[in-house]
Symmetry: C2
Subunit: 415 residues, 2 copies
């Protein structure tokens, strides 16, 4: 293990103890100072970002990636405004969740406390650096950030501004640290910083998430993969179905709550599939399907077994006919990444069956999977969407960035 | 990866879907059937255990280990009674924890659902096989058990009885599975059964826990290590202090909530240490201490740096003088395993400082650390005591064996 990394871990732990004792007012003061400093230095951060983009172009990054990497003055200022929004959210720390009096008179209280030190591993989006730091500070956690090498100049500039804001208040700059070494080794080291990292949150593509889940020895919140399904039940309203599939597939195909696979009850396939396909054709969505689907939709290509498990993140969808809600649930539980799934139905019984039987973070009746989002659920902001079952499932907001502690007040009790 | 293990994972997943849909009444019926079958077959299980003990003696197991391994008829019947107690607890599944209406009219509800499949890796205690299975069934989870090789005959017998009870009700026996291969490889395979295991809970000594934390790629709840501290503040009532230290150290030294290290305010060391030492002498507790401690207690040996981080699990304690509550908190946060710590004080200010500043699962004022236990906290039963911060911290009862799911009921909403 790299000594520098252990030193960062120690400094983060030290800073986390300071943060854990801060009042809400103090933490909000930090967030406002950070927002102010980001706005005041937006030009400097944008200049650093311009350098990242220049290098990115030299290295032949695609325009889609260049767009993700772009962090001009207006994006920096929007990010600063989001930091103020985080300040306005309720403090997740210090809530008493449960309490009881032991028969011997001891009073037991379970209160929310910060997790401690949060590690973030992410890719090319420079806004994650600021968003994650703001959520961590609000929840009383120190953060160690490991962004992608493509954004290193932008990240270095943003973190320098945030650390400056902390120092200007006489507070430990190490509440926010950036790993400037963007080698694979630094990422691996962070995954093994047991004793210093309380939770590691990877945010990015499937490859990154898999690498973290497979290799990390520190606790992880797995985020992001979304092979989401929409199932059209026999009694589905066809116009509603077409609208929901169109929205779930095409409104933003690159995000994790977009629909990747459509299941259709065999008894409405003849009627529903052409209606759905007509809407999807507006965006030139490529369709792969089973035999029945290909017989009904002449433009559809045959789907392979691999298609059922594929997250396209593109204008492409797999379509399968099923014998009913039971087969739909079984198929989803087998192939889904357990993120978000929807049923379109007028049947009360099948709606409830689907809500209870589908093993995913968010299950919808007659609505688009695209709503799985911290903002849409009213959490204000999110650090990712968890597809694991431990600790946090679904949008990971401030409430998931805390743990609890039992405080016991006695008068000399022994057991 | 071993094919047999993947098959077990698939069968567990299948069984978990059946369990997730069962009513509380049905799950309780299973638990009563299991309790009845265990009692009816107690002689058979005890006979299998006698074989384990015979082999254990042949292999030279210590008498302490033989005692842990012993599972005679009366212990089996006590275990069966505990299964009925679990049946009597409230069902943790199906509670609505939160709900909200989206501005667009969708109704969002967050409900508790089973985790799915729980893996348990443990050592020589055969009762864990039954206790864990009962808690998993009650919370709607399938379980895959990997007990120690010393108890394989006992475990095989208990699991056969429990599976028989499930089958007698026409339910899937695979709700409870035992890995009969007790090689190191089977343990490693279980740690990497991603997609089939939702959480792995190791229960046993520090070596086992460390191996699981370092190697598992499935989510883990870390349990058990307890380097617990008692701090005697300047204003401590000396009689109370001696009683609490005596209880925390000697009432059951082999358990994780026993006290391993004593911190004493330098200003009361002269008065408090002899009083505490007199009580500890009743049980011949070995004391190692810093220079001041050794000057006051003639029988104390010098402590080394390693002592501050050692969980003795024996009649031995390390003792250190500190300058006050701040140093005590710093020392604890550095050396503790973050399990349970206590302050003895009459100072309101220092009590609150300690409760808030100590980064452990359970923090006590004027009471023994020995109370950190699911039963004592009123949770009825526990599957272990978590020393991590993610998902569950402190005693892991039924409430920690569930996750949540968002159910969204709409009327055609799109984003």
């Amino acid at each position: 293990m790299n000594e520098t990394m252990i030193e960062m871990g120690k400094r983060a732990r030290e800073a986390s103890y300071a943060l854990a004792q801060m009042t809400s007012a103090k933490k909000n003061e930090i967030l406002h100072a950070i927002a102010g400093a980001l706005t005041a230095n937006a030009d400097e951060i944008a200049a650093a970002n311009a350098e990242d983009i220049r290098i990115g172009r030299e290295n032949g990054l695609s325009e889609a990636l260049i767009d993700r990497l772009s962090f001009g003055e207006s994006r920096v200022c929007a990010c600063a405004a989001a930091v103020k929004d985080v300040a306005a959210l309720p403090d997740p720390v210090g809530r008493a969740l449960w309490g009881s009096e032991h028969p011997n008179g001891m009073r037991i209280t379970r209160v929310t406390v910060p997790l401690g030190v949060i590690g973030m591993i992410y890719e090319a989006r420079p806004n994650v650096t600021i968003d994650a730091a703001a959520l961590c500070i609000k929840s009383g956690n120190a953060v160690i950030l490991r962004g992608g090498k493509e954004a290193i100049n932008s990240n270095r500039a943003s973190v320098a501004v945030m650390r400056g804001a902390l120092e200007s208040l006489g507070l430990p700059a190490d509440c926010v640290q950036l790993i400037e070494d963007t080698s694979r080794q630094s990422s691996t080291d962070l995954m093994h910083l047991n004793g210093y990292i309380d939770v590691l949150i990877p945010r990015g593509g499937a490859g990154l998430i898999r690498a973290v889940v497979e290799n990390a020895s520190v606790p992880v919140i797995e985020t992001g993969a979304g092979n989401c399904h929409v199932y059209l039940d026999e009694t589905a309203d066809v116009a509603m179905a077409a609208q929901i599939v169109y929205n779930a597939k095409t409104s933003r195909p690159s995000v994790c709550n977009a629909c990747e696979s459509l299941l259709v009850h065999q008894n409405i396939a003849e009627k529903a599939l052409p209606a759905v396909a007509a809407r999807l054709a507006e965006k030139n969505v490529e369709i792969v399907g089973d035999e029945t689907v290909c017989a009904i939709l002449k433009d559809a290509a045959p789907a392979t077994e691999a298609d059922w498990g594929t997250e396209y993140l593109d204008f492409k969808i797999s379509v399968k006919t099923v014998s009913g809600v039971d087969e739909a649930i079984r198929h989803i539980n087998q192939y889904s990444t357990h993120h978000s799934e929807a049923i379109v139905t007028e049947s009360y019984e099948n709606a409830e069956k689907f809500l209870n039987g589908v093993d995913s973070a968010a299950v919808y009746v007659n609505a688009s999977t695209r709503f799985t989002d911290g903002g849409e659920f009213g959490f204000g902001a999110e650090i990712g969407i968890s597809t694991q079952k431990l600790h946090a499932r679904g949008p990971v907001g401030l409430e998931a960035l805390v743990t609890t502690k039992y405080q016991i007040r006695g008068g000399g009790q022994v057991r």
